[in-house]
């Protein structure tokens, strides 16, 4: 690892060594990592597709090493690794990226920002996605290059009773984020955001420590939350079509040959397709599993929730300077 450790600005010359002396055939190794340890997670499908395409198209001049949770199960560690060069390609969620000081990213954490996957895809694959990618590159001092948007599913409420209207949520404790706009949203809805570790949530739902939680089907069904007393009733609030960033260390990327760069981008595009497809499939399968196990799902009129979310969206978007992007996303409905 001699020579690569300073990934500060001065190190361009060092990385340049690789770049300038590289002929078209010089082989490279890409360490790609996400934080999910389950081999069935859609992230794994996505990164394996990335590996497959990059390796086959490059005739072996690109080697990809996929790490499923083995380089850290926390996303903040993955961001650090990406910055230092310990990992070249990582997957992170908006919350952990904003600690690097890129506040605009919090846009994607807003509740009810998107109304469907079509709406979400149109936004992230269009101008909004492009602008966010530029912001990330610029504000990270050209360190993080965004190559595509993945999803971790659409999040619903699940609790000890089916929710028919907002009134049913009054005073309910809910396991969710306890700070930031997500917490504010649930508080205004009338619920009580509560901090429970993911690993403790099964027991907490079982033993009535919290009344409810919120997550996407593939995640909470895999943990059997729907088989607990307080996790039996899912109400499809669809309050968050989640966004995840597929990032590459830009200094490494620039050091690749042009042909390799194109292959990497092509592989990234293929991984986006693969991950989304795997996720959409799993969402349906998980929901079916949940129903087969005797848990229940109800639909719910989301209009009153959206009424609460909209002013919050306006406020936060103004604060982090992305009001125009919020407007654009709203127009795409």
């Amino acid at each position: 690892a001699c020579g690569n450790e300073e990934s500060g600005e001065e190190s361009n010359s060092e990385d340049g060594n690789q770049g300038t002396s590289a002929n078209e055939e010089e082989s490279i190794k890409i360490v790609a990592a996400h934080n999910q340890t389950s081999p069935e997670n859609p992230y794994q499908d996505g990164l394996l597709e990335f590996k497959e395409v990059a390796e086959s198209k490059s005739n072996g001049s690109i080697e990809v090493e996929v790490h499923a949770g083995t380089l850290g199960t926390s996303e903040s560690e993955l961001v650090e690794s990406l910055q230092l060069g310990g990992a070249d390609v990582v997957l992170v969620s908006p919350g952990f990226m904003s600690s690097t000081g890129i506040r605009e990213i919090d846009l994607f954490a807003l509740p009810y920002l998107f109304e469907s996957y079509e709406h979400w895809e149109e936004a992230v694959d269009g101008e909004v996605g492009d602008e966010i990618a530029n912001i990330i590159l610029e504000e990270s001092d050209n360190k993080f290059k965004l190559m595509g948007y993945w999803s971790a599913g659409v999040r619903h409420y699940y609790g000890k009773e089916p929710i028919q209207s907002i009134d049913d949520l009054q005073g309910m404790t809910i396991r969710t984020q306890t700070s930031g706009v997500v917490a504010d949203f649930w508080q205004q809805v009338g619920a009580v955001p509560t901090d429970v570790a993911w690993g403790e949530l099964y027991q907490a739902l079982q033993q009535n420590v919290v009344d409810s939680a919120e997550n996407a089907y593939p995640y909470f069904v895999q943990e059997n939350h729907h088989q607990t007393d307080n996790g039996k009733y899912t109400s499809e609030t669809a309050h968050d079509f989640t966004t995840r960033f597929l990032l590459i260390n830009n200094e490494k990327f620039e050091s690749y040959s042009e042909e390799q760069q194109n292959i990497v981008l092509e592989a990234a595009a293929a991984s986006v397709e693969a991950e989304r497809q795997a996720l959409y499939d799993q969402e349906e399968e998980s929901k079916q599993t949940l129903l087969d196990d005797g848990a229940e799902v109800n639909e719910i009129d989301t209009a009153p929730f959206i009424d609460i979310a909209v002013p919050l969206q306006d406020e936060v978007a103004e604060e982090i300077g992305v009001a125009h992007l919020l407007e654009q996303i709203r127009e795409q409905r």
Partner: protein, 161 residues
Amino acid sequence: MKKIVKLLEKVQLSIGVIMLSIFFLAVIIQVATRYLGVSVIWTGEVANYSFIWSIFMGTAVMINRKEHFKFDLLYKKLTGKMRSSLSIFNDSILFLFSLAILFYGVAATDNFWNYNWVSLPFMKMGYVWLSVPVMGLTMMIYLASHIIYDMKGFNREEANK
């Protein structure tokens, strides 16, 4: 040298105990507020980061006190000059390790200086990462003093012969 090292250890131990106390208070506030239904969001990060500082300070102090767990079988078997040589050799290895901790600790601090805390965005992550090079540097000072001490003993034995 001896006086400086002693003072350094005292200061470092105090910093460690202060950090441990901050950590302790933060956890208590967290527990108390949770039961009162108020949410104080900064307690988690304050607890975690002061904990990291206290552990790294304690680690360096224990280097000075030579209390990290080790196998002293070989050391106990040796006597006189051989024993001092082994001591010097081991401390030199630790010195190099501490140097690496200092050097790369500075690199890490530099890289993450401007990252911010999630709950208190005006606080920089740099304040946390700084604990790594501080540990490295202080361990180097302690180890240097051990090596010098052993060298002196070495020379005394030489002269006695």
